[in-house]
Subunit: 247 residues, 2 copies
Amino acid sequence: MNIRTVLVGTTHPGNIGAVARAMKNMGLSDLVLVKPRYFPHEEATARASGADDVLENAEVAGSLAEAIADCVYVAGASARPRTINWTCLDVRDAAKRLVQESNRGKVAAVFGPENAGLCNADLDLCDSLLSIPSNPAFSSLNLAMAVQVVAYEIRAANAEKLPEYLADAPLATAAEMEHFYVHLEQTLRATGFLDPDNPRHLMRRLRRLFIRGRPDRNELNILRGILTSVERYGASGAADEAAKESK
Amino acid sequence: MNIRTVLVGTTHPGNIGAVARAMKNMGLSDLVLVKPRYFPHEEATARASGADDVLENAEVAGSLAEAIADCVYVAGASARPRTINWTCLDVRDAAKRLVQESNRGKVAAVFGPENAGLCNADLDLCDSLLSIPSNPAFSSLNLAMAVQVVAYEIRAANAEKLPEYLADAPLATAAEMEHFYVHLEQTLRATGFLDPDNPRHLMRRLRRLFIRGRPDRNELNILRGILTSVERYGASGAADEAAKESK
Protein backbone atom coordinates (compact mmCIF):
# COMPACT_ATOMS: atom_id res chain seq x y z
CA MET A 1 0.00 0.00 0.00
CA ASN A 2 1.02 3.54 -0.74
CA ILE A 3 0.65 4.45 2.93
CA ARG A 4 3.55 5.51 5.11
CA THR A 5 3.72 5.57 8.89
CA VAL A 6 5.86 8.37 10.30
CA LEU A 7 6.94 8.44 13.95
CA VAL A 8 8.33 11.77 15.15
CA GLY A 9 10.73 11.94 18.07
CA THR A 10 9.91 8.54 19.55
CA THR A 11 11.63 8.16 22.91
CA HIS A 12 11.04 4.47 23.73
CA PRO A 13 12.59 2.03 21.26
CA GLY A 14 10.17 -0.68 22.39
CA ASN A 15 7.35 1.36 20.93
CA ILE A 16 9.09 1.45 17.56
CA GLY A 17 9.18 -2.35 17.55
CA ALA A 18 5.56 -2.63 18.64
CA VAL A 19 4.62 -0.21 15.86
CA ALA A 20 6.45 -2.35 13.29
CA ARG A 21 4.53 -5.41 14.43
CA ALA A 22 1.20 -3.57 14.42
CA MET A 23 1.90 -2.29 10.91
CA LYS A 24 2.84 -5.68 9.54
CA ASN A 25 -0.20 -7.28 11.17
CA MET A 26 -2.30 -4.93 9.09
CA GLY A 27 -0.25 -5.22 5.89
CA LEU A 28 1.67 -1.94 6.11
CA SER A 29 5.44 -1.77 5.61
CA ASP A 30 6.60 1.81 4.93
CA LEU A 31 8.00 3.23 8.18
CA VAL A 32 9.93 6.51 8.53
CA LEU A 33 11.41 7.62 11.85
CA VAL A 34 12.05 11.33 12.41
CA LYS A 35 14.84 11.82 14.96
CA PRO A 36 14.16 8.71 17.06
CA ARG A 37 16.01 8.88 20.38
CA TYR A 38 17.34 5.31 19.99
CA PHE A 39 17.37 3.38 16.74
CA PRO A 40 18.26 0.70 15.93
CA HIS A 41 17.86 -0.82 19.38
CA GLU A 42 17.51 -4.37 20.71
CA GLU A 43 14.25 -3.52 22.47
CA ALA A 44 12.74 -2.43 19.17
CA THR A 45 13.77 -5.72 17.60
CA ALA A 46 12.38 -7.72 20.53
CA ARG A 47 8.98 -6.03 20.43
CA ALA A 48 8.76 -6.34 16.63
CA SER A 49 8.26 -10.10 17.18
CA GLY A 50 8.98 -11.07 13.59
CA ALA A 51 8.33 -7.75 11.88
CA ASP A 52 12.10 -7.28 11.61
CA ASP A 53 11.76 -6.57 7.90
CA VAL A 54 9.70 -3.47 8.65
CA LEU A 55 12.40 -2.24 11.04
CA GLU A 56 15.23 -3.05 8.65
CA ASN A 57 13.59 -1.11 5.85
CA ALA A 58 12.65 1.84 8.08
CA GLU A 59 14.23 5.11 7.03
CA VAL A 60 15.43 7.79 9.41
CA ALA A 61 14.73 11.43 8.55
CA GLY A 62 15.95 14.68 10.06
CA SER A 63 12.61 16.46 9.99
CA LEU A 64 8.93 15.80 9.37
CA ALA A 65 9.10 17.98 6.24
CA GLU A 66 11.74 15.65 4.85
CA ALA A 67 9.77 12.53 5.82
CA ILE A 68 6.65 13.67 3.95
CA ALA A 69 8.20 15.66 1.08
CA ASP A 70 6.88 13.23 -1.55
CA CYS A 71 3.41 12.87 0.00
CA VAL A 72 0.15 14.19 -1.42
CA TYR A 73 -1.84 13.80 1.78
CA VAL A 74 -0.75 13.79 5.40
CA ALA A 75 -2.82 13.08 8.51
CA GLY A 76 -1.35 13.98 11.90
CA ALA A 77 -2.49 12.21 15.05
CA SER A 78 -3.73 14.63 17.68
CA ALA A 79 -6.11 14.94 20.56
CA ARG A 80 -9.25 16.63 19.40
CA PRO A 81 -10.14 19.45 19.13
CA ARG A 82 -6.74 21.10 19.28
CA THR A 83 -7.73 24.34 17.68
CA ILE A 84 -10.13 26.02 15.34
CA ASN A 85 -10.32 25.89 11.58
CA TRP A 86 -8.44 22.68 11.24
CA THR A 87 -9.93 19.68 9.54
CA CYS A 88 -10.12 16.95 12.15
CA LEU A 89 -11.24 13.49 11.15
CA ASP A 90 -11.90 10.65 13.49
CA VAL A 91 -9.68 7.68 12.78
CA ARG A 92 -12.25 5.83 10.71
CA ASP A 93 -12.87 8.72 8.34
CA ALA A 94 -9.16 9.55 8.29
CA ALA A 95 -8.32 5.98 7.30
CA LYS A 96 -10.86 6.05 4.49
CA ARG A 97 -9.40 9.32 3.30
CA LEU A 98 -5.83 8.00 3.46
CA VAL A 99 -6.81 4.96 1.42
CA GLN A 100 -8.68 7.10 -1.09
CA GLU A 101 -5.84 9.59 -1.51
CA SER A 102 -3.29 6.79 -1.75
CA ASN A 103 -4.70 6.03 -5.17
CA ARG A 104 -3.19 9.32 -6.29
CA GLY A 105 0.18 9.22 -4.58
CA LYS A 106 2.04 8.52 -1.38
CA VAL A 107 0.19 9.43 1.83
CA ALA A 108 1.30 9.44 5.46
CA ALA A 109 -0.08 9.00 8.95
CA VAL A 110 2.12 10.88 11.43
CA PHE A 111 2.51 10.26 15.17
CA GLY A 112 4.33 12.50 17.65
CA PRO A 113 6.49 11.80 20.69
CA GLU A 114 4.99 9.69 23.50
CA ASN A 115 4.66 12.44 26.07
CA ALA A 116 3.72 15.53 24.14
CA GLY A 117 2.34 14.49 20.76
CA LEU A 118 3.03 16.48 17.61
CA CYS A 119 4.04 20.13 18.09
CA ASN A 120 2.10 22.83 16.28
CA ALA A 121 4.88 23.40 13.75
CA ASP A 122 4.61 19.74 12.72
CA LEU A 123 0.81 19.80 12.73
CA ASP A 124 1.03 22.75 10.34
CA LEU A 125 2.53 20.37 7.79
CA CYS A 126 -0.48 18.07 7.94
CA ASP A 127 -3.55 18.18 5.71
CA SER A 128 -5.78 17.18 8.55
CA LEU A 129 -5.73 16.04 12.11
CA LEU A 130 -6.59 12.47 12.96
CA SER A 131 -8.07 11.65 16.33
CA ILE A 132 -8.98 8.41 18.00
CA PRO A 133 -12.18 8.78 19.98
CA SER A 134 -11.41 7.93 23.58
CA ASN A 135 -12.36 8.40 27.19
CA PRO A 136 -12.10 12.16 27.88
CA ALA A 137 -10.93 11.40 31.41
CA PHE A 138 -8.12 9.12 30.22
CA SER A 139 -7.51 9.87 26.60
CA SER A 140 -3.83 9.25 25.96
CA LEU A 141 -3.28 5.98 24.11
CA ASN A 142 0.11 4.32 24.07
CA LEU A 143 1.88 5.26 20.83
CA ALA A 144 1.92 1.74 19.38
CA MET A 145 -1.72 1.25 20.35
CA ALA A 146 -2.64 4.36 18.41
CA VAL A 147 -0.75 3.09 15.38
CA GLN A 148 -2.52 -0.26 15.76
CA VAL A 149 -5.93 1.36 15.68
CA VAL A 150 -5.03 3.52 12.68
CA ALA A 151 -3.50 0.59 10.80
CA TYR A 152 -6.53 -1.53 11.62
CA GLU A 153 -8.85 1.13 10.22
CA ILE A 154 -6.68 1.48 7.11
CA ARG A 155 -7.03 -2.23 6.52
CA ALA A 156 -10.77 -2.04 7.12
CA ALA A 157 -11.11 0.93 4.74
CA ASN A 158 -9.08 -0.85 2.11
CA ALA A 159 -11.48 -3.74 2.23
CA GLU A 160 -14.30 -1.40 1.20
CA LYS A 161 -14.66 -0.08 -2.30
CA LEU A 162 -14.57 3.68 -2.10
CA PRO A 163 -15.87 6.17 -4.64
CA GLU A 164 -13.21 8.43 -6.04
CA TYR A 165 -13.31 11.93 -7.38
CA LEU A 166 -10.93 12.83 -10.15
CA ALA A 167 -8.50 15.70 -10.32
CA ASP A 168 -7.18 16.60 -13.79
CA ALA A 169 -3.63 16.72 -12.47
CA PRO A 170 -1.73 15.06 -9.62
CA LEU A 171 -2.29 16.70 -6.26
CA ALA A 172 0.41 19.11 -5.14
CA THR A 173 2.97 17.47 -2.85
CA ALA A 174 3.89 18.80 0.56
CA ALA A 175 7.16 20.22 -0.81
CA GLU A 176 5.32 22.04 -3.62
CA MET A 177 2.88 23.49 -1.10
CA GLU A 178 5.82 24.75 0.99
CA HIS A 179 7.25 26.56 -2.03
CA PHE A 180 3.89 28.15 -2.59
CA TYR A 181 3.64 29.34 1.02
CA VAL A 182 7.09 30.92 0.78
CA HIS A 183 6.06 32.71 -2.41
CA LEU A 184 2.76 33.82 -0.87
CA GLU A 185 4.42 35.21 2.24
CA GLN A 186 6.97 37.09 0.15
CA THR A 187 4.20 38.63 -1.95
CA LEU A 188 2.11 39.62 1.07
CA ARG A 189 5.13 41.38 2.56
CA ALA A 190 5.60 43.24 -0.70
CA THR A 191 1.99 44.42 -0.84
CA GLY A 192 2.21 45.42 2.81
CA PHE A 193 -0.63 43.11 3.87
CA LEU A 194 1.70 41.08 6.06
CA ASP A 195 3.52 43.18 8.63
CA PRO A 196 6.64 41.21 9.61
CA ASP A 197 6.58 42.95 13.01
CA ASN A 198 3.00 41.86 13.65
CA PRO A 199 2.31 38.69 11.62
CA ARG A 200 -0.64 37.65 13.82
CA HIS A 201 -0.62 33.98 12.69
CA LEU A 202 -1.64 35.14 9.24
CA MET A 203 0.41 32.53 7.40
CA ARG A 204 -0.89 29.72 9.60
CA ARG A 205 -4.41 30.87 8.91
CA LEU A 206 -3.82 30.96 5.16
CA ARG A 207 -2.11 27.56 5.22
CA ARG A 208 -5.17 26.01 6.78
CA LEU A 209 -7.44 27.55 4.23
CA PHE A 210 -5.35 26.37 1.28
CA ILE A 211 -4.71 22.95 2.72
CA ARG A 212 -8.45 22.44 3.00
CA GLY A 213 -8.75 23.31 -0.67
CA ARG A 214 -6.12 20.68 -1.56
CA PRO A 215 -4.87 22.18 -4.83
CA ASP A 216 -3.73 19.94 -7.64
CA ARG A 217 -0.58 20.85 -9.52
CA ASN A 218 -2.42 22.91 -12.17
CA GLU A 219 -4.23 24.91 -9.52
CA LEU A 220 -1.02 25.53 -7.64
CA ASN A 221 0.53 26.83 -10.87
CA ILE A 222 -2.40 29.23 -11.25
CA LEU A 223 -1.93 30.48 -7.69
CA ARG A 224 1.77 31.00 -8.22
CA GLY A 225 1.06 32.77 -11.52
CA ILE A 226 -1.22 35.15 -9.64
CA LEU A 227 1.53 35.91 -7.13
CA THR A 228 3.98 36.61 -9.92
CA SER A 229 1.48 38.94 -11.62
CA VAL A 230 1.05 40.83 -8.32
CA GLU A 231 4.81 41.22 -7.99
CA ARG A 232 5.05 42.67 -11.51
CA TYR A 233 2.05 44.91 -10.83
CA GLY A 234 3.81 46.47 -7.84
CA ALA A 235 7.20 46.47 -9.53
CA SER A 236 5.85 48.74 -12.29
CA GLY A 237 5.12 51.26 -9.53
CA ALA A 238 8.54 50.73 -7.97
CA ALA A 239 10.17 51.26 -11.38
CA ASP A 240 8.23 54.50 -11.78
CA GLU A 241 9.34 55.62 -8.33
CA ALA A 242 12.93 54.86 -9.24
CA ALA A 243 12.52 56.75 -12.53
CA LYS A 244 11.06 59.72 -10.66
CA GLU A 245 13.87 59.70 -8.12
CA SER A 246 16.52 59.60 -10.82
CA LYS A 247 15.05 62.68 -12.47
CA MET B 1 -20.70 0.17 30.14
CA ASN B 2 -22.04 -3.27 30.80
CA ILE B 3 -19.13 -4.83 28.91
CA ARG B 4 -16.50 -7.04 30.55
CA THR B 5 -13.08 -7.92 29.27
CA VAL B 6 -11.88 -11.41 30.16
CA LEU B 7 -8.25 -12.50 29.77
CA VAL B 8 -7.67 -16.25 29.98
CA GLY B 9 -4.27 -17.65 31.02
CA THR B 10 -2.25 -14.51 30.31
CA THR B 11 1.46 -15.27 30.65
CA HIS B 12 3.05 -11.78 30.47
CA PRO B 13 1.98 -9.43 33.28
CA GLY B 14 2.99 -6.41 31.13
CA ASN B 15 0.19 -7.32 28.77
CA ILE B 16 -2.33 -7.22 31.61
CA GLY B 17 -1.25 -3.66 32.40
CA ALA B 18 -1.37 -2.62 28.74
CA VAL B 19 -4.88 -4.13 28.51
CA ALA B 20 -6.00 -2.09 31.53
CA ARG B 21 -4.74 1.10 29.90
CA ALA B 22 -6.33 0.25 26.55
CA MET B 23 -9.64 -0.47 28.29
CA LYS B 24 -9.63 2.74 30.29
CA ASN B 25 -8.69 4.74 27.18
CA MET B 26 -11.91 3.51 25.63
CA GLY B 27 -14.05 3.89 28.74
CA LEU B 28 -14.15 0.22 29.82
CA SER B 29 -13.42 -0.82 33.39
CA ASP B 30 -14.66 -4.36 34.07
CA LEU B 31 -11.66 -6.73 33.85
CA VAL B 32 -11.64 -10.40 34.87
CA LEU B 33 -8.49 -12.51 34.78
CA VAL B 34 -8.80 -16.28 34.46
CA LYS B 35 -5.75 -18.01 35.94
CA PRO B 36 -3.18 -15.33 35.11
CA ARG B 37 0.40 -16.63 35.48
CA TYR B 38 1.47 -13.53 37.47
CA PHE B 39 -0.93 -11.11 39.10
CA PRO B 40 -0.63 -8.63 40.67
CA HIS B 41 2.80 -7.74 39.28
CA GLU B 42 4.88 -4.57 39.09
CA GLU B 43 5.16 -4.85 35.31
CA ALA B 44 1.39 -4.83 35.01
CA THR B 45 1.23 -1.69 37.13
CA ALA B 46 3.97 0.00 35.11
CA ARG B 47 2.31 -0.67 31.77
CA ALA B 48 -1.10 0.42 33.07
CA SER B 49 0.27 4.01 33.12
CA GLY B 50 -2.47 5.39 35.29
CA ALA B 51 -5.16 2.79 34.76
CA ASP B 52 -4.32 1.36 38.18
CA ASP B 53 -7.97 1.52 39.17
CA VAL B 54 -8.83 -1.00 36.46
CA LEU B 55 -6.12 -3.35 37.78
CA GLU B 56 -7.17 -2.86 41.39
CA ASN B 57 -10.77 -3.69 40.61
CA ALA B 58 -9.88 -6.66 38.40
CA GLU B 59 -11.21 -9.96 39.63
CA VAL B 60 -9.41 -13.26 39.35
CA ALA B 61 -11.42 -16.33 38.37
CA GLY B 62 -10.59 -20.02 38.33
CA SER B 63 -12.24 -20.77 34.99
CA LEU B 64 -13.81 -19.03 32.01
CA ALA B 65 -17.17 -20.50 32.98
CA GLU B 66 -16.92 -18.74 36.33
CA ALA B 67 -15.79 -15.46 34.73
CA ILE B 68 -18.79 -15.29 32.43
CA ALA B 69 -21.40 -16.91 34.62
CA ASP B 70 -23.52 -13.74 34.83
CA CYS B 71 -23.19 -12.82 31.14
CA VAL B 72 -25.96 -12.86 28.53
CA TYR B 73 -23.62 -12.70 25.52
CA VAL B 74 -19.98 -13.74 25.09
CA ALA B 75 -17.66 -13.18 22.13
CA GLY B 76 -14.38 -15.08 22.02
CA ALA B 77 -11.38 -13.71 20.11
CA SER B 78 -10.09 -16.15 17.57
CA ALA B 79 -8.29 -16.38 14.28
CA ARG B 80 -10.88 -16.85 11.60
CA PRO B 81 -12.24 -19.27 10.51
CA ARG B 82 -11.37 -21.78 13.20
CA THR B 83 -13.98 -24.25 12.25
CA ILE B 84 -17.24 -24.58 10.42
CA ASN B 85 -20.72 -23.92 11.76
CA TRP B 86 -19.59 -21.35 14.25
CA THR B 87 -20.81 -17.80 14.14
CA CYS B 88 -17.79 -15.66 13.45
CA LEU B 89 -18.10 -11.87 13.42
CA ASP B 90 -15.39 -9.48 12.43
CA VAL B 91 -14.48 -7.13 15.24
CA ARG B 92 -16.67 -4.27 14.00
CA ASP B 93 -19.81 -6.37 13.84
CA ALA B 94 -18.90 -8.13 17.07
CA ALA B 95 -18.52 -4.79 18.84
CA LYS B 96 -21.92 -3.62 17.59
CA ARG B 97 -23.42 -6.86 18.81
CA LEU B 98 -21.77 -6.58 22.21
CA VAL B 99 -23.07 -3.03 22.61
CA GLN B 100 -26.54 -4.08 21.50
CA GLU B 101 -26.68 -7.08 23.83
CA SER B 102 -25.28 -5.04 26.72
CA ASN B 103 -28.62 -3.27 26.87
CA ARG B 104 -30.06 -6.54 28.12
CA GLY B 105 -27.37 -7.57 30.56
CA LYS B 106 -23.68 -8.12 31.15
CA VAL B 107 -21.70 -9.17 28.07
CA ALA B 108 -18.05 -10.21 27.68
CA ALA B 109 -15.21 -10.16 25.17
CA VAL B 110 -12.79 -13.00 25.90
CA PHE B 111 -9.11 -13.27 24.95
CA GLY B 112 -6.90 -16.37 25.26
CA PRO B 113 -3.24 -16.88 26.20
CA GLU B 114 -0.59 -15.04 24.13
CA ASN B 115 0.84 -18.04 22.35
CA ALA B 116 -2.08 -20.34 21.70
CA GLY B 117 -5.29 -18.33 21.91
CA LEU B 118 -8.47 -19.75 23.37
CA CYS B 119 -8.73 -23.54 23.48
CA ASN B 120 -11.74 -25.23 21.92
CA ALA B 121 -13.29 -25.99 25.31
CA ASP B 122 -13.31 -22.27 26.12
CA LEU B 123 -14.55 -21.29 22.65
CA ASP B 124 -17.45 -23.68 23.26
CA LEU B 125 -18.60 -21.31 26.01
CA CYS B 126 -18.81 -18.37 23.61
CA ASP B 127 -21.87 -17.23 21.68
CA SER B 128 -19.74 -16.27 18.73
CA LEU B 129 -16.17 -15.93 17.60
CA LEU B 130 -14.68 -12.48 17.13
CA SER B 131 -11.87 -11.97 14.64
CA ILE B 132 -9.71 -8.99 13.74
CA PRO B 133 -9.02 -8.84 10.01
CA SER B 134 -5.26 -8.92 9.50
CA ASN B 135 -2.40 -9.75 7.18
CA PRO B 136 -2.72 -13.50 6.45
CA ALA B 137 1.07 -13.74 6.31
CA PHE B 138 1.51 -12.15 9.75
CA SER B 139 -1.78 -12.40 11.53
CA SER B 140 -1.02 -12.68 15.23
CA LEU B 141 -1.62 -9.42 17.08
CA ASN B 142 -0.13 -8.77 20.47
CA LEU B 143 -2.78 -9.51 23.13
CA ALA B 144 -3.10 -5.93 24.36
CA MET B 145 -3.26 -4.66 20.78
CA ALA B 146 -6.17 -6.99 20.11
CA VAL B 147 -7.97 -5.73 23.21
CA GLN B 148 -7.25 -2.16 22.08
CA VAL B 149 -8.88 -2.75 18.71
CA VAL B 150 -11.92 -4.44 20.26
CA ALA B 151 -12.31 -1.72 22.90
CA TYR B 152 -11.91 0.94 20.22
CA GLU B 153 -14.68 -0.66 18.14
CA ILE B 154 -16.92 -0.90 21.18
CA ARG B 155 -16.47 2.81 21.75
CA ALA B 156 -17.00 3.53 18.05
CA ALA B 157 -20.23 1.52 18.10
CA ASN B 158 -21.57 4.14 20.53
CA ALA B 159 -19.91 7.23 19.10
CA GLU B 160 -21.59 10.31 17.79
CA LYS B 161 -20.39 12.04 14.69
CA LEU B 162 -18.58 15.32 15.35
CA PRO B 163 -18.17 18.02 12.72
CA GLU B 164 -14.98 17.85 10.62
CA TYR B 165 -13.60 21.02 12.09
CA LEU B 166 -14.66 23.90 14.26
CA ALA B 167 -14.74 27.31 12.64
CA ASP B 168 -14.24 30.37 14.85
CA ALA B 169 -16.72 32.32 12.77
CA PRO B 170 -19.79 31.43 10.72
CA LEU B 171 -18.96 30.01 7.32
CA ALA B 172 -19.13 32.51 4.50
CA THR B 173 -22.49 32.57 2.77
CA ALA B 174 -22.95 32.08 -0.95
CA ALA B 175 -23.60 35.82 -1.37
CA GLU B 176 -20.40 36.68 0.48
CA MET B 177 -18.48 34.26 -1.68
CA GLU B 178 -19.92 35.92 -4.79
CA HIS B 179 -18.73 39.33 -3.63
CA PHE B 180 -15.31 37.85 -3.07
CA TYR B 181 -15.21 36.35 -6.58
CA VAL B 182 -16.15 39.70 -8.10
CA HIS B 183 -13.39 41.37 -6.10
CA LEU B 184 -10.91 38.64 -7.04
CA GLU B 185 -11.72 38.90 -10.74
CA GLN B 186 -11.39 42.68 -10.67
CA THR B 187 -7.99 42.41 -8.99
CA LEU B 188 -6.74 39.75 -11.39
CA ARG B 189 -7.70 41.98 -14.33
CA ALA B 190 -5.79 44.83 -12.73
CA THR B 191 -2.63 42.76 -12.25
CA GLY B 192 -2.97 41.51 -15.80
CA PHE B 193 -3.18 37.84 -14.76
CA LEU B 194 -6.70 37.56 -16.13
CA ASP B 195 -6.96 38.50 -19.79
CA PRO B 196 -10.62 39.41 -20.43
CA ASP B 197 -10.18 38.38 -24.07
CA ASN B 198 -8.92 34.96 -23.11
CA PRO B 199 -10.26 34.08 -19.65
CA ARG B 200 -9.76 30.31 -20.13
CA HIS B 201 -12.19 29.29 -17.34
CA LEU B 202 -9.81 30.81 -14.82
CA MET B 203 -12.52 32.09 -12.50
CA ARG B 204 -14.33 28.77 -12.55
CA ARG B 205 -11.11 27.05 -11.61
CA LEU B 206 -10.48 29.44 -8.71
CA ARG B 207 -14.06 29.13 -7.53
CA ARG B 208 -13.70 25.39 -7.20
CA LEU B 209 -10.50 25.71 -5.27
CA PHE B 210 -11.92 28.24 -2.80
CA ILE B 211 -15.21 26.45 -2.37
CA ARG B 212 -13.34 23.30 -1.38
CA GLY B 213 -11.56 25.36 1.29
CA ARG B 214 -14.95 26.57 2.62
CA PRO B 215 -13.75 29.83 4.18
CA ASP B 216 -15.41 31.21 7.26
CA ARG B 217 -16.19 34.91 7.47
CA ASN B 218 -12.90 35.83 9.13
CA GLU B 219 -10.94 34.02 6.47
CA LEU B 220 -12.92 35.68 3.73
CA ASN B 221 -12.10 39.04 5.30
CA ILE B 222 -8.42 38.13 5.20
CA LEU B 223 -8.68 37.21 1.52
CA ARG B 224 -10.45 40.45 0.68
CA GLY B 225 -7.88 42.38 2.68
CA ILE B 226 -5.18 40.80 0.54
CA LEU B 227 -6.98 41.86 -2.63
CA THR B 228 -7.27 45.42 -1.34
CA SER B 229 -3.56 45.48 -0.48
CA VAL B 230 -2.77 44.32 -4.02
CA GLU B 231 -4.91 47.09 -5.49
CA ARG B 232 -3.07 49.71 -3.42
CA TYR B 233 0.25 48.14 -4.32
CA GLY B 234 -0.46 48.60 -8.03
CA ALA B 235 -2.24 51.94 -7.53
CA SER B 236 0.98 53.46 -6.21
CA GLY B 237 2.45 52.68 -9.64
CA ALA B 238 -0.66 53.98 -11.47
CA ALA B 239 -0.56 57.21 -9.46
CA ASP B 240 3.04 57.62 -10.50
CA GLU B 241 2.11 57.07 -14.13
CA ALA B 242 -0.64 59.69 -13.88
CA ALA B 243 1.77 62.11 -12.21
CA LYS B 244 4.29 61.52 -14.99
CA GLU B 245 1.66 62.05 -17.70
CA SER B 246 0.43 65.29 -16.17
CA LYS B 247 3.92 66.72 -16.23
